[in-house]
């Protein structure tokens, strides 16, 4: 489990970790023993804390009131289309509603030592989650890079690495490209394209069931390029680009991805460099990463209060 794997590094950064859910203590005890979890798993079984935090997912209650518990009831019902769309995004695509009552909109808060929110990450689709490593990269306190590809050209040095070595359907990770322009060199930042320069970018080939988000660029600086008397947005000192990658988790995507062991992400890293006198031709460097692909594990614990529920559903479907 990713959070457990990152625990030592997070603790080295002085950050503790706790997970909160509506599970009973028995379920959490079993889960922590099975997966070797050493950080607190907190049992909010009446959903009071979830409610206090303002993130109780009330869509499930609403739908339940209107149509009843099972998916087939919902399919034949005449729900408000906005409610139906929200249920698909935030509750469930294809399961019954009732056991979702009391769950939160899933998300992560990073708080400081006084309990003040420093950053927060909530997902637009319940099946997708930012990995912890991705969250740490996005807030600028990245964890130790693994499987890094390093290189240098006449203009710069770079180190490229994925935030996580493995992904599952729903994982939202980043490909980080840390760039150090050589002395006297500068590279073009967003905005410089309007002046005819090639902005530093990643151009990745499409991969089925994988979504590439727009690259996250750090703040640039304005440079006065004297030969053309231009003010241009550039990067002159070390910076990191983040290319977020989302592995889709729709039922179709999960089905297709279950056939694969790994995903290969490839394309080019493109930039244009100038020094204080000359502009060099744009450069295009091939990059490629292989990410291990794991399946989503869904198995009820022995202590699960839902065992009987799912058995009953299975009996219903069999009839």
């Amino acid at each position: 489990m990713e959070l457990q794997e990152q625990l030592e590094e997070l603790q080295a950064q002085g950050l503790s970790v706790a997970a909160i859910s509506y599970d009973t203590e028995a379920v959490l005890t079993e889960f922590s023993e099975k997966r070797g979890i050493t950080f607190p798993l907190l049992s909010d079984d009446d959903s009071q804390t979830i409610t206090d935090y303002g993130i109780l997912n009330t869509l499930a209650d609403e739908a339940l009131e209107i149509v009843g518990p099972s998916r087939s009831d919902r399919e034949s019902a005449d729900l408000d289309p906005v409610l139906e769309a929200d249920i698909k995004k935030y509750v469930t695509v294809n399961q019954g509603i009732d056991y979702h009552v009391g769950t939160p909109y899933p998300g992560t808060f990073i708080v400081d030592r006084n309990g003040r929110v420093m950053s927060r990450f909530f997902e637009e689709f319940y099946r997708e989650r930012n990995t912890i490593a991705n969250i740490m990269l996005k807030r600028g306190t990245g964890l130790t890079p693994i499987a890094a590809v390093e290189g240098s050209t006449a203009h710069l040095k770079f180190t490229a690495y994925p935030s996580n070595p493995y992904v599952m359907p729903g994982s939202r990770i980043s490909l980080a490209v840390q760039v150090e322009p050589n002395e006297t060199m500068h590279l073009y930042a967003p905005g410089a394209d309007t002046m005819g320069y090639k902005v530093i970018s990643l151009d990745l080939r499409p991969v089925p069931h994988v979504r590439f988000e727009p690259v996250l660029y750090p703040e640039s600086e304005i440079y006065h390029f004297e030969p053309f008397d231009e003010l241009v947005p550039v990067y002159q000192s070390q910076f990191t680009l983040l290319q977020e990658i989302v592995v889709e988790a729709t039922p179709e995507a999960e089905e297709a991805l279950s056939q694969l062991d790994a995903l290969t992400i490839g394309g080019t890293f493109d930039y244009q460099a100038c020094d204080d006198a000359f502009c060099f031709n744009p450069v295009s460097l091939p990059i490629s990463f292989t990410l291990d692909l794991r399946g989503v594990v869904r198995e009820l614990s022995e202590s699960s209060p839902l065992r009987e529920y799912f058995r009953a559903r299975a009996r219903e479907n069999a009839n």
């Binding site: 950050l15 997970a19 203590e25 798993l41 935030y90 992560t108 808060f109």
Partner: protein, 78 residues
């Protein structure tokens, strides 16, 4: 046009039901999760919850020297 009352020739005032219903029909807004819960800069609520070892944890007991990651998820079970 609110609560238009059509007086019928000196008799009681009749509220046309269909007019009222159309007016009151609101378009439902999709959920905006970014607006839910404590925002950046706000203090999070305290809690007092049992962990997997039967220990009661509060926000204070969970906080590390540089803070904490609080992860709300749907279930460890399903």
């Amino acid at each position: 046009m609110r609560n238009v009352c059509i007086a019928l020739a000196g008799l009681i005032c009749v509220l046309p039901a269909s007019l009222n219903a159309a007016e009151e029909a609101q378009i439902r807004a999709p959920v905006d999760i970014t607006s839910l819960g404590p925002q950046v800069g706000e203090l999070v609520p305290d809690f007092s919850l049992q962990d997997q070892n039967g220990q009661v944890q509060t926000l204070d007991s969970v906080l590390g020297p540089n803070g904490a990651i609080l992860l709300f998820h749907r279930s460890a079970d399903w």
